[in-house]
């Protein structure tokens, strides 16, 4: 198979995958994964977000054969992982690196020793291991910690060792199992930036699972939301963030893209306008290039509708700005304003009325 063909096919493909766990006492099976179909495009960072017990961990472990599908197929670079055994399975595993929430480093080995472990396992000659380990140590910026033991490292440094170790055998795919969940926000950002760099520089496909929407926002090109063993929503991160369909997605987005209504407004809000002077409260979601155009000023100029900004935030999802504003305006003009904004591809939502 040529490199060009490799590019076209998805790096990972789940085809109608079901994973059932028999229950104790023979009370029937529990479906951890229920008929999942998902493609992870080569060279992307794809995030799977879900609550604990949603099945995301099982889904991730199907990719390197730590879990087996009960039904359906899991293909990694065209190879069927689900049916591979013995040497064939070990061969696939060497093409798939994995990093873990709790790092899973050997306490008895130094940084260099841990990074060299997968190479020793793959039977790489000793003389080739040392220079490869040095390259990886430089890549993750741990030159000064080369001969330290994991117990002497910070959480962020441990995860860097984990990443270097996962990359040692030059895999095509990197699996990340809640890799930043045990880290503080600053360290999380650094580790995510490192993953992003690796994805760009090495063209590595990354599949990560997380329960934090902020992780998806910061690094993922694609996202799939999993709930009760099913994928309830998936697509490019930007699309899912700007137009979340499923309630689970919305609840994950709370606190990441949501702006909070100020208390003095929230407490006076009514479902219907209570008089001629009542103000409508409206949430506007800006996406794409619209996020940076002064739409509200334009609406004032072109339609003569004056708005009052109550709350707002602009964030970045990957390279794209993403904004959310809550404004008030005379309720009689609400429909007109929504129509105007919709023409420019903005999403508006009526929240209620004040006064």
């Amino acid at each position: 198979m040529t490199e060009a063909e490799d590019r076209d096919q998805p790096a990972i493909s789940f085809q109608n995958v079901t994973r059932a766990f028999p229950q104790k006492g023979g009370a029937g099976d529990v479906l951890a994964l229920d008929d999942i179909s998902l493609e992870v495009p080569a060279g992307t960072i794809t995030g799977i977000i879900g609550r604990s017990g949603a099945g995301k961990s099982t889904l991730l472990r199907l990719v390197n054969g730590l879990e087996r599908p009960s039904r359906g197929k899991v293909l990694v670079a065209g190879q069927d992982v689900g049916t591979a055994t013995g040497a064939a399975l070990r061969d696939i595993r060497r093409k798939v690196g994995m990093i873990f929430q709790h790092f899973n480093l050997l306490s008895s080995r130094t940084v260099a020793g841990n990074i060299g472990l997968p190479l020793e396992i793959a039977g790489t000659p000793r003389a080739e291991i040392a220079p490869r380990v040095d390259d990886l140590i430089r890549l993750v910026g741990l030159d000064a910690q080369r001969d330290r033991y994991p117990a002497e490292l910070s959480g962020g440094q441990k995860q860097r060792v984990g990443i270097a170790r996962a990359l040692a055998t030059r895999p095509r795919v990197l699996l990340s199992d809640e890799a930043t969940s045990a880290l503080d926000p600053d360290t999380t950002r650094q580790v995510l930036a490192l993953l992003r760099d690796i994805n760009r520089e090495l063209g590595l496909t990354i599949l990560l699972i997380t329960h934090e929407m902020a992780v998806v926002r910061d690094v993922c090109d694609h996202v799939a939301v999993i709930e009760g063993g099913r994928i309830v929503e998936s697509g490019p991160t930007y699309g899912v963030f700007s137009r979340p369909d499923h309630p689970t997605t919305r609840s994950f987005l709370k606190g990441v893209t949501d702006v909070a209504l100020p208390g003095f407004v929230a407490s006076r809000m009514q479902p219907q306008p209570q008089g001629p002077d009542a103000q409508a409260i409206m949430q506007i979601t800006f996406t794409g290039q619209n996020a940076t155009t002064p739409m509200l000023s334009r609406m004032t100029v072109e339609c003569g509708i004056e708005t009052n900004i109550l709350a707002g935030a602009i964030e970045e999802i990957g390279p794209n700005p993403f904004g959310s504003l809550i404004v008030s305006l005379p309720h009689q003009r609400l429909q007109e304003a929504r129509g105007f904004l919709a023409e420019y591809g903005m999403i508006t939502e009526e929240l209620g009325y004040v006064g």
């Binding site: 390197n64 595993r93 709790h102 899973n104 033991y149 117990a151 699996l175």
Partner: protein, 224 residues
């Protein structure tokens, strides 16, 4: 104390060291792999073989529940078949080894089972074979615990070796009984006890020192 008695104490000490040393070595060669297998053959583990595991576990438990002095005399035919005689210091090594091996197996098993299962998962994800996981992950990670377990086993063997006088095993314990007790020589008894205390202390300190050298789990001042 006569020069003769000093000579006897010295020879007895060497006999004890010889019996304990060989029994610990052979016991480790048998008990070590057995312990690793007991730990990894449980249901759902690396080499999952629950039936074999149960049988071996039962054998180990039986061997461990027989009182040592009964073990010594009950295996006399086996000892004679193995080393050609059932009497003497070399013959005494056989029951000592048979007592040590299952004990060491359980100690090794416990240490191996304490290794974080996440490390096994990581190694499997790297494409490691079960044998590689044992050699490169389980044993190195369990080493501090294994060394402390072996220390405990050697200390127990020093105690057991005092009982093999029953089959002419000689050594310090036998000397203490025959001279100190049966010939009313309390000074000999005292010296025997002191030598054994020193031996145990030395073994314990050595074991802890080696275990600490293997243990990289806690950060400490590494002289830099």
């Amino acid at each position: 104390m006569s020069a003769n008695m000093i000579q006897l104490l010295w020879v007895s000490t060497l006999q004890t060291l010889y019996m304990v040393g060989v029994a610990a070595l052979v016991g480790t060669l048998i008990g070590g792999p057995l312990g690793i297998f007991l730990a990894t053959s449980r249901r759902g583990e690396l080499l999952s073989a629950p039936n074999t595991n149960r049988v071996l576990g039962l054998v180990v438990n039986i061997a461990r529940s027989v009182p040592f002095i009964i073990l010594v005399v009950s295996i006399i035919p086996f000892t004679r078949w193995l080393v050609g005689t059932s009497i003497g210091t070399t013959a005494a090594i056989v029951p000592l080894t048979i007592a040590a091996a299952p004990f060491i197996a359980r100690l090794v098993e416990t240490s191996i089972r304490e290794v974080d299962s996440g490390l096994i998962e990581a190694a499997r994800a790297m494409g490691a074979t079960p044998f590689q996981i044992v050699r490169k992950v389980l044993v190195p990670e369990a080493m501090p615990g294994i060394v402390l377990g072996l220390t405990l086993a050697v200390v127990s063997l020093i105690g057991y070796s005092a009982m093999v006088g029953a089959v002419g095993g000689k050594g310090l314990g036998d000397l203490g009984i025959r001279y100190g007790y049966q010939r009313f020589m309390p000074d000999v008894m005292l010296i025997v006890v002191v030598i054994m205390v020193v031996l145990v202390q030395f073994v314990q300190s050595l074991g802890e020192w080696i275990a600490a050298r293997f243990d990289k789990r806690a950060p400490r001042n590494r002289g830099r």
